[in-house]
Subunit: 382 residues, 2 copies
C-alpha cells in the first residue's frame, strides 16, 4: 500500500489499550471510539472519539476516516460495520460473523449446523417456552444478546421458577464440567490458521469472573490436541480472517463442548503478551495488516491472575508491586482505568515459571500481595 493504513477500533477498554501498547512499537496510528471519555484508550489513541458504539451513524462516521476497522467488544452496531465494508474498508471480524456471535441463539445454531459439539439447548421466549423445554433442566438461561461476564445468565433448576428472564433467551442444559478451557486461533486472508496452547480457566465463584488462568492447560496431550483441533474447526467454520477465542467445556466424561466464541482479543490470551513471541494483540495487528501470522509457542508455563479493585472507589493504585516484582517473571498490568471500584477488573498479573510449583508459589504471592485500591485510602488498605 502507498500510505500507512489507519486502524480504527470500536471500543476503548483494556483490550484496546493492550492492542495499542503493541501497535505503538510499529509506529501505527490507531483511532478509538468509546462512549466513556475516560476509557483506558483515551490519551494513548492517536484519535479518541467519544460516541455510542451501538449507533450506526456514529460507527460509520468514525470508521470512514480509517482503512481498517476492528473491535474490542462485541456490542457494536453491525449494520454500521456492513456499511463500512461497502465503503471498501477492511473490517475484522467480518460483520456477518459478528452478527452470528452477538446472538447466543444464532451462535449455538451455527455450531450445530457445522457439526461442532456444544451443550444441548433450546431457543426460548418467555416463561411458557422455558417450561416447554424443561427437559433441559437443570440449565442456564441466557439472554440471547447483551450479556457478558456472567451478566444476563441465570441458573434454572425448577420448571416452576417464576422470576425468569423475559424476551429472547437461550436455555442451555447444564453439563458436568471438569474444566473450562479456551483456545485462541488466528486466521489470515489465505485461510492459514495458527492456534495457541489451550488455557485452563479458574473462576472466582463470587464475582463470576476469571480469577486466574494457566497455560498450557493441565490436560492429557491428546485432549490438548483435540481442543486445538476443535478450535481450529470453529475458526474454519466462520471462514473469515480474524482472532477467535474459543471457550469450551471439558466434561467429566472427557467430552469437549464449545461454549462460546469471541471474535476478538480475549481475557484468556493476556499471558501471550509475555509468554509468546507473538501475543494475541500482535496477531490481531498482523491480521489487520495482512502480514504473516506470528509464533504462538509458549516460552514456559504461564498464569494470568486478574486484579480486581478492592477497598472502595478512587484513583487506582497497585499495592504489593514490590513483593510481586521481587519474583522473576512476573508482569503486572494495570489498565489505566480512571477509577477503581470494589469488584471492578482493574488489571492482571502474568506469571511465568519453568515448573508448576514455582508457578503456583508466584500465583499465591500475587493473590496475597497484589491489590488495586483507591490511592487516597492506600494508607489504611496496607
Amino acid at each position: 500500500m502507498a500510505t500507512v493504513p489507519v486502524i480504527a477500533l470500536l471500543g476503548g477498554g483494556q483490550l484496546g489499550r493492550m492492542f495499542i501498547e503493541n501497535a505503538l512499537r510499529y509506529g501505527h496510528v490507531v483511532h478509538v471510539l468509546d462512549p466513556d471519555p475516560k476509557a483506558p484508550c483515551a490519551g494513548i489513541a492517536h484519535r479518541f472519539v467519544v460516541g455510542d458504539l451501538t449507533d450506526r451513524e456514529t460507527v460509520v462516521r468514525f470508521g470512514a476516516a480509517a482503512d481498517i476497522i476492528g473491535i474490542e467488544i462485541e456490542q457494536v452496531n453491525v449494520d454500521g460495520l456492513e456499511d463500512l465494508k461497502q465503503l471498501g474498508k477492511r473490517v475484522v471480524p467480518a460483520p456477518h460473523v459478528l452478527r452470528t456471535i452477538q446472538d447466543k441463539g444464532l451462535q449455538k445454531q451455527f455450531y450445530v449446523q457445522h457439526g461442532i459439539p456444544t451443550a444441548p439447548f433450546a431457543l426460548v421466549n418467555g416463561i411458557e417456552e422455558i417450561r416447554a423445554a424443561s427437559r433441559l433442566l437443570p440449565a442456564f438461561l441466557k439472554t440471547r444478546t447483551g450479556g457478558y461476564d456472567g451478566k444476563g445468565v441465570m441458573r434454572v433448576d425448577d420448571p416452576a421458577s417464576t422470576d425468569l428472564f423475559e424476551g429472547p433467551c437461550m436455555l442451555e442444559q447444564c453439563v458436568d464440567i471438569a474444566l473450562e478451557l479456551a483456545v485462541l486461533v488466528v486466521r489470515d486472508d489465505n485461510g492459514v490458521q495458527v492456534t495457541y496452547d489451550s488455557v485452563e480457566m479458574v473462576f472466582d465463584p463470587v464475582l463470576n469472573l476469571v480469577d486466574h488462568l494457566q497455560a498450557p492447560a493441565r490436560i492429557p496431550a491428546e485432549t490438548a490436541a483435540h481442543a486445538r483441533a476443535l478450535a481450529d474447526r470453529v475458526a474454519n467454520a466462520f471462514g473469515e480472517p480474524g482472532l477467535y477465542a474459543v471457550e469450551m467445556f471439558l466434561t467429566r466424561s472427557g467430552e469437549l463442548l464449545v461454549n462460546e466464541t469471541a471474535p476478538r482479543a480475549h481475557n484468556s490470551g493476556h499471558h501471550t503478551i509475555e509468554a509468546c513471541a507473538s501475543s494475541q494483540f500482535d496477531q490481531l495487528l498482523r491480521c489487520y495488516m495482512q502480514w504473516p501470522l506470528g509464533d504462538t509457542r509458549l516460552r514456559s508455563l504461564a498464569a494470568m491472575v486478574n486484579l480486581v479493585g478492592s477497598g472502595g472507589t478512587g484513583q487506582p493504585m497497585l499495592m504489593g508491586a514490590e513483593e510481586v516484582l521481587a519474583l522473576p517473571g512476573t508482569f503486572p498490568h494495570l489498565y489505566g482505568k480512571a477509577e477503581t471500584r470494589s469488584g471492578r477488573k482493574m488489571g492482571h498479573v502474568t506469571v511465568m515459571a519453568q515448573d508448576q510449583q514455582t508457578l503456583e508459589l508466584a500465583i499465591h504471592t500475587v493473590r496475597e500481595q497484589c491489590r488495586v485500591v483507591p490511592a487516597t485510602t492506600s494508607a489504611h488498605a496496607k
Copy 2:
C-alpha cells in the same frame, strides 16, 4: 506512597517512547518535555510540553508538576535538575552524575580518579594545546560537551593539522580496537546492582551509527565476566541509583577500556525489550519507583538492527515487514517519528534465535528487506 507518582521525562525521542510503551502496562502517568512538538512521545505522553531542555526555568517549571524526574538525553539543564532535587523531587540520574558525564573531560578524569581503565587522553583548548599533546597522536579530538552519534568527534593524525575543533576538547589516543562492547548496569537506592550480558556493536562506517548489535558478545567467558565486572565498577563509582550504559573497547591485546557511559536507556539495550524478562526500560521504571530490580537473563541469542531512513523525506513507512515478520522471533520497532529522512534513525528490528546461523540469516533478511521510506514514494522504492 499514598498516591500514584507522576514521572516526568526530559526528552521525548524514541527512548522516551519505548519507556512509555512499557510504563503504560503499569498504568503509569508520564509527562514529557521536548522542543519538537512532533517528537515520538507526542500523542502518547499523558502530558506533553514543548520547551527547551537546556533552559533552567523551563526544566524546573516542567518537573515541578511531577514526583520523579528522569532523562532520555544528556543535553538537559543540570542546574534545573539540582533545583528540582532541592524541591524534594526524585531525580534519576543524580544531577552531579549527569554533570560529570555531560563533560567528556570530567568523565575521563572521573575514570582515572576511580582507577577505571580508559584510553590515554589530554584536556585541550585550541590548536596550541592540541599540538602540545601530540604524543597522543593518532588520536580522536572530541568536543567536551554537546557531541553525540559521532558528531563533535574528529580524528587527528598529523600534529600540523589546522582545521581542528576550537574550544574545550578532549584528545584521546587511538586504541587498537578489536571490538566495541556495551554493558548495561542498573543500580537501586540500596546499592544493589544488576548487569545485562555484554553486547557487541557493529558500526556502519558511512553513517557512523550502530548498524547492528549482538547479545551476548562473541567473546570468551572470562572476558565477558570481566566486562560485566568493569561496568559494575563504573556504576559503583558513580554510586547513585539509575541505569548506566557503559561503552567499552576490547583492544587487540585483550585489554578492556571504558569509552564512555550514558546514564540512561541506550541504543545498545533495545534488544532487552524482547530478549529479557525485564527490559532496560522496565528496569528504569523499577528504579524510579524504588521497586526491586528485574531479571536480566537473555532468553536466547539476540541482535538489534537499526532501521535508517532511505529514499528521501516524507511520512515514514516500513517496507519489507511481510518478509521480516515471516521469520519467527523478529520484532520491528518504528519510533513514530513524523518524518523520515535518508540516514535518519527511524527504528530498529530485534531478532532472536537459538543459534548463530539462524540469527545471522535473520539479520541478513532484515538488512536486505527492511527499509523505512517516505510513504508517498513507496511505489518507486519497492
